[in-house]
């Protein structure tokens, strides 16, 4: 079985995912096309040799409907021979795209695949695509709560306090600010320009580096009222009868930011890359998926990581750097606790709390982030993992070459 290699990773800056965000005026297809173009131009890609363009995108409706992967590739001027497919594995979509690409290459069926992700959360609102998740029947038969309730439940089950999550959030901000100050993202981030070549956004605009634990302490938890007064907490009782009272600790300041952005990653066999004169940056050691309880929902990264480590015949201690998506601060905190990973190795350049989480793109972005960080620090192995709606988890282990 051939190995799949990563040759490059690019992304747009992340814009605030609101009407006042810099990228709100940009169509998601243009966000994605910008990344696809940058990937092509930086690597002189003969796009007629791209076997597929696999793109993660969660809310596939409106501006993001109709297989955005295909039309973004055409918009970017890719050869018509380069097709496109759009995948939705909720928050894992971006990494799913990379893993799909890796699997295609590793299978030997394909030689070179462009993976990536896109989400304009300012233009296409979360949930705008509807779905059975909202049906009462699903509630009765499967069970489902808003993610914030799950996050607070996860924290409660793991004994994570408000102080813990707020402290983690401030550290995420600090690390992101330091990383930006030291140009840690420059290798991946490509300034987004309008049709006149004017820069619309050249760096992530969500971070609030001046945040303190004290300031965060003033914020009201977002899901307390909903959970307690409107009975949403009770919906978890069926599954977690032992939890007497969910400790509501998450709020906008210690949860992932709503942002817009896109990313693209070049995955190919070594032979293909070498034939094109490209230098591989990392090898994909293992990929994994797992399912966990749909109500707790956010506990997937742990089993997913264990599964990937087992497949790669590695131990937790063999991983130099981790990217654990900061959907909510409790997720990486629970992860570190359960797997016994020191914070020094996790999200070294901050995470989605500071930088934002453009749903379908985040996984692909995190892969670029960990690759850049490994190179910066001259380390070797990285693991990227995300929690996923519906109770899934996804992980990818890479090794620099």
């Amino acid at each position: 079985m051939p190995d799949a290699y990563l040759f490059d990773a690019v992304r747009t800056p992340r814009g605030r995912g609101k009407e006042n965000g810099s990228l709100y005026t940009v169509r998601p297809i243009d966000l994605l096309a910008a990344s696809l173009r940058a990937l092509r131009d930086r690597n002189n890609l003969p796009t007629e040799q791209v076997d597929d363009v696999v793109i993660g995108c969660v809310t596939q409706t409106g501006d993001q409907g109709g297989c955005i992967a295909r039309f973004a590739a055409l918009e970017a001027g890719y050869h018509v021979d380069a097709p496109g497919v759009t995948e939705n594995r909720f928050c894992g979509s971006g990494l799913q795209a990379v893993n799909t690409a890796a699997a295609m290459v590793a299978s030997g069926y394909f030689d070179m695949v462009v993976a990536g992700g896109v989400e304009s959360m300012s233009r296409v609102k979360m949930g705008a695509d509807g779905g059975a998740i909202w049906d009462p029947a699903t509630q009765w038969n499967v069970g489902s709560v808003p993610q914030g309730i799950s996050a607070d439940l996860l924290a409660t089950l793991n004994g994570i306090s408000r102080r813990d999550v707020d402290t983690f959030a401030v550290e995420s901000q600090r690390r992101a600010a330091t990383a930006m100050e030291h140009h840690r993202f420059d290798r991946s981030v490509v300034a987004f320009r309008d049709i006149n070549g004017q820069v619309i956004l050249d760096k992530d605009e969500y971070p609030r580096p001046d945040t303190t634990v004290e300031k965060l302490g003033e914020l009201q938890p977002s899901f307390a009222m909903m959970g307690r007064q409107f009975g949403l907490d009770t919906l978890t009782k069926e599954r977690y009868p032992e939890v007497d009272r969910i400790n509501h600790i998450h709020h906008a300041g210690n949860s992932s930011g709503i942002v817009d952005g896109a990313a693209a990653v070049l995955v190919a066999s070594k032979e293909k890359g070498v034939a094109l004169g490209l230098k591989p940056r990392a090898r994909i050691r293992a990929v994994s998926l797992c399912g966990t309880d749909a109500v707790l929902m956010l506990a997937g990264p742990m089993p997913a990581s264990r599964k990937a480590l087992a497949k790669a015949k590695m131990n937790v201690g063999d991983i130099d750097l981790f990217e654990v998506n900061e959907a909510f601060a409790a997720v990486p905190l629970a992860y570190m606790k359960e797997l016994g990973v020191p914070h020094e190795k996790v999200n070294v350049n901050g995470g989605a709390i500071a930088l934002g989480h453009p749903l379908g793109a985040t996984g692909a972005m995190l892969l670029g982030t960990v690759l850049d960080a490994l190179e910066d620090r001259n380390l070797t192995t990285g693991l990227v993992t995300l929690c996923i709606g519906g109770g899934m988890g996804i992980a990818t282990i890479i090794e620099r070459v």
Binding site: E19, R27, G62
Partner: protein, 712 residues
Amino acid sequence: MTITNETTSNGMAALAFDDATGVATITLKMEGRANKINDDFGATMQGAWAWAKARPNLRGVILASGHKDFCVGADIDRLYRERDAATMMARLRELNGLFRAIETGGVPVVAALTGSALGGGYELALACHRRIALDEARVQVGLPEVSLGVMPGAGGTQRLPRMVGIQTALEHIAQGLMVRAPKAVKNGMVDELAATPEELHAKAVAWIHANKGAKQPWDRNAPIPGPQPGSAEARQIIMAACAMLRKKTSGVFPGPELAISSVQEGLTLQFDRALEVESRYFTRLATSDQAKDMIRTLWYHRTSAEKHEGLPKIEDPRIAKVGILGAGMMGAGLAFVSAQAGYQVVLKDVKDEQLAKARAHCEEQAKAAKHLGADGQKQILDRIRYTIAIDDLDGCDLIIEAVYENLELKHMVTKEAEPKLAKGGVWASNTSAIPIGDLATVSLAAQNFIGLHFFSPVEKMQLVEVITTAQTSDETLARALAYTRAIKKLPIVVGDGYGFYTTRVFSAYILEGAQLVAEGHDPVVIEWAAKKFGMVVPPLQVFDEVTLTLGVKGFKQGRHYGKSLDLPGVALVETMVEAHGRAGKAAGKGFYEYGAEGRTLWPGLAALTTGKPEHTGVEVIGRRLLTLQALEAARCVAEGIVKTPRDAEVGAIFGVGFAPNTGGPLSYIDRRGLVAFVAECDSFAKTCGARYAPPQLLRDMAAQGKTFFEKV
């Protein structure tokens, strides 16, 4: 009642506040003859608005004009010169900020349209809460920006669809339609009409009093009229608009295309951010080569030609009675437009039945001019006398000869009718090719002899090609020009020589179309390539319209005048006429077949080709068609036929239907670059024939780094 009167510090707006009504009136009267959107406008409106807002007990504002028109839009000079996207964006931001301040200021604002509101002027009116117009046909509103290669840039693509619905807005924006006030009330572009300025003012005050705290629909989340953005119906409308536009323009003009994008993309966005999307598209267009080339020709050169700049003028042209010889399509048309302009007209032919046809034509034309009313129509028709009697031409101040293209015939009628002219009267020939000097050999007064080459149908075609010989006096030219102005024509003035200017360029075009067919290029691709490069009508279609018979006659005439016509394309046209009886559209068969399903290219063309071309396709065909015309234009400049590059551009676009997206044949050469153009011609000359050899003028210009027009 106390009314306080002031002016803005720059004196460009009168400010009046009426204590009794609480209404402030801002009357814009900017320097020059019209209100324009420029730096002065910004400063004036900022000042005026601040003044209005500072009135105690202000209940509303009326925005009025002290000029004939309300506001005629952007300052073209500034638009034309600007190439920097950042500067353009900054200006738009400022202008949009001003308009937003006006519409979100908390008091009702009424636009008093006592005259036309066009382009940026109408966008200003759209930023008011209500538009009341004088009920007069001269008052027009609209967003004609696409006609100059740009699109609305001060909120037009955002406010209009939100106000009148997607369909109506797209129609008007993408086609650049201007609408008379009475019609504009029907489609919602104007809210209300008033018979007099006083009534307009009273209605404005009443509306202000009845609409305290007025907000725009887009600032109170009101649904837009018709299908909602993002709906399936809206998608269909937009798809249809895209398709219709492409059908009409073949993708030649980014202006209307980006305008449609702006409408569609902006409608789902928060209003202020939607304006950013519009600004980017506008900036893209306004800083583009195409906009510069189109503005130069369609605005500057056209206006200059309209004003007869650089041409002799005469105070009293002394033309009251106009004689027209030959009552064919052209003669009849000339009779009508002359009568419409107030001239006494004598239309003379040798056949009564021809005159009867001409009379029917004029009556039909009059009837179509509904706005004149029955009386007005009758007055025009009464000015025309249809006659076969030569003596009826007695005392004509101007006689226009429009008989068949035949030197002997023209000589004969000249000899017969010229003596009937009033003393010193002007003789004009409407020939399309025969040198005026050759016609004037029989004239009694060559200094009064001139060429007036009109285009058919003369009621519609604006251009007239005026041809002077070495003998033609300036006074004759000035008088002829005065006549062309009276009948509302756009003149170019060229020197004498076979085919003058426009006929040479036009012939080069259609002949190359036939030549391409003969070389074996796919006729379907030839036609598309011409359109794709901007030609208004494709060559084979237009050849059919002017008839192939005319072409064959032209070849004969051309050979007489020393034209080299040893080309397979010429032979092809001759064969089509002589061996296949395919005379053109009128005959029902030419390059096309004309059936119930419309026109389709004649399959028999394939059998008349000389082989298969080595290089073909849209790009090479389009290049060849434009290059050959541009070369002919350059030759006319080199030979002194064309006296000013302005006329080369205006003549080609308005007379030949040359690609307006290029700004004209000389602009096309400039834009390609002289060096590149000459090299391309040399290469074509090698592969396609000597007719592509560039004149020395172009080689010299290339060597000296010169261009026809100043670079912007």
